[in-house]
C-alpha cells in the first residue's frame, strides 16, 4: 500500500461508502458530542420524521454554552441570564432523557466544556472520528482523532445514522521544529502559526502538526494548538498519538482497561503518517522564533509579539480593525490599558492553564479597576484547582472564581464585557463584538492574561515570574 498520512489512515478506516462523481463519501462517526445550543433543532427534526438516535452509546452530551458560571443561588440553583437560556438547557435535558443519551448535566461531577470533558473522561481516543456542532471540535485532534465541527443539520444526520456525507479535505503539514523558548506557551505558538499562515491558510485542509516542538508539548498544550486549527480556517488539526497521549489517557473512565488497553495501544501505535507520505501542502515553523504573542486586531491572524510594534495597516480593512481596537500602529501593545481579564474557554481552561495564571498572580492583587474572571473548563478541573489552592490565589488577588462553562469566550450566558472595554482573553476569537457588543478582545496565554491583570495593562509575565523566583 502506498505511504499514507495520518489523516488518510483515519479517513480510510471510517469510509462506509466511498465517494462517487455524483455523491460524497459516507463517513462513520465514532463519537458525537452534543450541547444545548446546536442540538435542539436537530432533535426536532428527528421527532418530525419519527426517527430514533442510532447509537446513543456513541453520543455524549454536556451543558456549557448558555449555562451560567456565576455561583449558584441560595437554593443551590443556577441563575440563568434569560428564560430562553434556561429553556434551551431544559430542552437538552428532555431530549437526552427521551433518546437515551448520557448527559453530564447539573448533577454530574463530569460537567464542563464539551472539548474539555471529552478528553478528561477518556471518551476522546486516538483513531476515532469525533464531531460536534461546534467549530472547536478540532481540539480532540490532539489525540490523533479526526475531529471537526459540523452544523445542526449534520448533528441530525449523525444522531439518525451515525454517519456524515463528506468530501475528502486536503492535507496541510505544519512542521514545527526548534525549541519553544522558556516563557512561551502553546498559545503563543499557535497564535504565531495563525499569524504565519493566515486566518484562511487552512481552508479546505486538515492540518497535521508535526516535528520536535510538537512532540515536546504536553497533552493539554497539544489541545490548545489543535483547538485553534479552525482559526486558520482548517477543517481539523491533528497530532499523531505517542507516549504522551497514552500517559494522559491511561486509567480515565472511558479509556480501555486491562488487556483492552494493551490491544488499543498496539492499534494506536500505527497512527502516524508513513515515511514518504505526501501532503498537499507543507509549512515550516521555527519554534525558537516564537515570543509571547497577542492579537492586536479583530481576527486571530492579526498577531504581534509583545515586545514588537504593531505593524502598519496594509489595507483599509486592517486600518478599520486598528480603529475598532483603538490600537496605534508602530508601537508595542504592551502598556495598553486593560478593563477585563478572562482566563477560560476550550482553548485555555485546563489545570495547567490555571496553574500558569496562578503562578503569576500568587501573592499579588489585580490592578485597580480590573475585573478578572477565572472559569475552569470542567467541574473536575475546578475541584483539582481547589485541592491545589489555586482558587485561593485567584480570590486573594481579587479575581472571580466561577463555575465551569464557555462563559466570556462566546458571551451568550450573561458573562460579557461592556462596550469599549478591553478584554485580555485566553479564548480563541477576537472578532468584533464576540465578548459583548463593542467589546475589544486581545487574545493571549494564561500567563500574559494574569500579568496584564496585575499590571492593569498588557504586560509580559517574565519580570513578575522572576520576582517570584527571587
Amino acid at each position: 500500500m502506498a505511504a499514507r498520512t495520518l489523516f488518510e489512515k483515519l479517513w480510510d478506516a471510517h469510509v462506509v461508502k466511498a465517494a462517487t462523481p455524483a455523491t460524497p463519501g459516507i463517513l462513520y462517526i465514532d463519537l458525537h458530542l452534543i450541547h444545548e445550543v446546536t442540538s435542539p433543532q436537530a432533535f426536532a427534526e428527528l421527532r418530525a420524521r419519527g426517527l430514533s438516535v442510532r447509537c446513543p452509546e456513541r453520543t455524549l452530551a454536556t451543558l456549557d454554552h448558555s449555562t451560567p458560571t456565576a455561583p449558584f443561588d441560595d437554593l443551590g440553583q443556577p441563575v440563568y441570564a434569560s428564560e430562553e437560556a434556561a429553556a434551551q438547557v431544559g430542552e437538552l435535558e428532555k431530549n437526552c432523557a427521551q433518546f437515551g443519551i448520557r448527559l453530564n448535566g447539573w448533577s454530574s461531577e463530569h460537567r464542563g466544556i464539551v472539548h474539555v470533558i471529552g478528553p478528561e473522561l477518556g471518551a476522546t481516543q486516538p483513531g476515532m472520528t469525533i464531531v460536534c456542532g461546534d467549530s472547536h471540535t478540532s481540539t480532540h485532534g490532539a489525540f490523533g482523532a479526526l475531529a471537526f465541527g459540523i452544523g445542526t443539520t449534520e448533528v441530525g444526520h449523525v444522531l439518525a445514522t451515525q454517519c456524515l456525507l463528506q468530501n475528502k479535505p486536503k492535507t496541510l503539514a505544519i512542521e514545527v521544529d526548534g525549541d519553544l523558548p522558556a516563557g512561551c506557551s502553546a498559545k503563543d505558538l499557535v497564535l504565531h502559526i495563525i499569524g504565519q499562515i493566515g486566518v484562511n491558510g487552512g481552508t479546505g485542509h486538515v492540518i497535521e502538526y508535526r516535528g520536535g516542538a510538537i512532540r515536546a508539548l504536553s497533552m493539554e498544550q497539544r489541545m490548545t494548538v489543535c483547538n485553534m486549527a479552525i482559526e486558520a480556517g482548517a477543517r481539523a488539526g491533528l497530532i499523531a498519538p505517542d507516549e504522551v497521549t497514552y500517559d494522559y489517557l491511561r486509567g480515565r473512565p472511558y479509556a480501555p482497561q486491562g488487556e483492552d488497553w494493551d490491544k488499543a495501544v498496539a492499534g494506536w501505535n500505527t497512527l502516524a503518517s508513513d515515511a514518504g507520505a505526501r501532503y498537499d501542502r507543507t509549512v515550516h515553523i521555527d519554534a525558537a522564533r516564537v515570543r509571547p504573542t497577542v492579537t492586536y486586531g479583530t481576527h486571530p491572524g492579526m498577531v504581534v509579539a509583545l515586545e514588537a510594534s504593531v505593524p502598519l495597516p496594509a489595507t483599509l480593512q486592517e486600518r478599520r480593525a486598528l480603529d475598532y481596537m483603538r490600537v496605534e500602529a508602530g508601537k508595542p501593545l504592551a502598556g495598553m490599558a486593560v478593563d477585563v481579564v478572562f482566563v477560560g474557554s476550550c482553548t485555555n481552561s485546563r489545570i495547567s492553564d490555571l496553574r500558569d495564571a496562578a503562578d503569576v498572580l500568587r501573592g499579588r492583587r489585580l490592578a485597580s479597576g480590573v475585573r478578572m474572571l477565572v472559569v475552569p473548563g470542567s467541574l473536575a478541573i475546578k475541584r483539582e484547582a481547589e485541592r491545589e489552592g489555586l482558587d485561593q490565589v485567584f480570590r486573594a488577588a481579587g479575581a472571580e472564581w466561577r463555575e465551569p462553562g464557555c462563559s466570556m469566550c462566546i458571551a451568550m450566558n450573561g458573562d460579557l464585557a461592556q462596550p469599549g472595554q478591553l478584554v485580555v482573553s485566553t479564548s480563541n476569537r477576537n472578532f468584533e463584538g464576540r465578548q459583548g457588543p463593542g467589546a475589544r478582545t486581545v487574545l493571549a496565554s494564561p500567563a500574559v492574561a494574569a500579568a496584564s491583570a496585575v499590571a492593569g495593562c498588557i504586560a509580559d509575565p517574565q519580570s513578575l515570574l522572576q520576582e517570584q523566583a527571587a
Binding site: 462506509v16 462523481p21 455524483a22 455523491t23 460524497p24 459516507i26 462513520y28 445550543v37 446546536t38 435542539p40 433543532q41 426536532a44 427534526e45 420524521r49 426517527l51 454554552h65 448558555s66 434569560s82 430562553e84 437560556a85 429553556a87 434551551q88 430542552e91 456542532g133 461546534d134 467549530s135 465541527g149 459540523i150 452544523g151 445542526t152 443539520t153 449534520e154 441530525g156 444526520h157 439518525a160 445514522t161 451515525q162 454517519c163 456525507l165 468530501n167 479535505p169 486566518v199 484562511n200 481552508t203 480556517g233 481576527h299 480593512q317 478599520r320 462566546i410 458571551a411 451568550m412 460579557l416 462596550p419 476569537r429 472578532f431 468584533e432 463584538g433 464576540r434 457588543p437 463593542g438
Partner: protein, 197 residues
C-alpha cells in the same frame, strides 16, 4: 428541513459587503443563539452592524440603504463565514431574504451549512469577485443547473458546485434521506468493525 424549496434560478440585484473575513459572530451574534427554533432569525442578521446602540437602524450600513432593499444576492469580501459552526448564520441570512452569497473564498463549515439549507454559496475567481465588488447593485441571473451567472451588463461567469449539493438544491431534497437509504451499508460497516475488534 426534510424538503427545501427547489433552487433553480436566482435573479436579483446585488448588495455588497466588501469587508474581508466576515465572521459568524458578525452574521449573528452569539447572544441570539439561545433559541431552540430555526425560524425568525432574520431580525438578528448582522445585528451589531445593522443597528446603532439605541436599536435604531444604522443608515450607514450597506444593507440598510434603500438600494439594498429586496436584494437576494450578497457579494461579500474574501473568507466570508469564518468562525463558528453555527447553522444559525445561514438560517438568519435566509430569513433576512438572501438566497445566494458570492465571494472569492467562503469558510468550509459555513458553506456546507448554507448549501444544506438552500442558501447558494458560490466561490468566484479573484477577478470576477473584484468586478462584482466594484459594481454594487448590478443585476445577476444565476442558473444553478448550468452553473452560470449572467450579468446585466452582458458579462457571464461560471462557477463550481459539488454535484450532490447541486442535485439537492435543484430537486429541493435534503441529504438525510440519502443517508437513511444507506442503512444496510452502515449496519454492515458496524458489524465488520465489531468482528475485526
Amino acid at each position: 428541513m426534510s424538503t427545501n424549496r427547489p433552487i433553480t434560478h436566482i435573479r436579483s440585484r446585488t448588495a455588497v459587503l466588501a469587508h474581508e473575513n466576515i465572521d459568524t459572530d458578525r452574521i449573528i451574534p452569539a447572544r441570539f443563539l439561545t433559541t431552540t427554533q430555526r425560524d425568525g432569525l432574520g431580525r438578528y442578521a448582522f445585528n451589531d452592524w445593522r443597528y446603532a446602540a439605541d436599536g435604531t437602524p444604522d443608515p450607514a450600513f450597506e444593507l440598510n440603504k434603500t438600494a439594498a432593499r429586496g436584494c437576494e444576492i450578497l457579494v461579500a469580501g474574501r473568507n466570508f463565514g469564518c468562525g463558528s459552526s453555527r447553522e444559525h448564520a445561514p438560517w438568519a441570512l435566509l430569513d433576512f431574504g438572501l438566497r445566494a452569497v458570492l465571494s472569492s473564498e467562503i469558510a468550509d463549515i459555513f458553506r456546507n451549512n448554507a448549501l444544506k439549507n438552500g442558501l447558494l454559496a458560490v466561490v468566484l475567481s479573484e477577478s470576477e469577485h473584484r468586478y462584482l465588488l466594484a459594481n454594487p447593485g448590478i443585476e445577476l441571473a444565476i442558473d444553478v443547473a448550468a452553473q452560470t451567472i449572467e450579468l446585466s451588463d452582458g458579462g457571464r461567469f461560471s462557477f463550481q458546485l459539488d454535484a450532490f449539493a447541486k442535485h439537492c438544491l435543484l430537486a429541493g431534497v435534503d441529504q438525510l434521506g440519502f443517508l437513511l437509504a444507506h442503512n444496510d451499508a452502515i449496519g454492515q460497516f458496524e458489524r465488520q468493525r465489531g468482528e475485526a475488534a
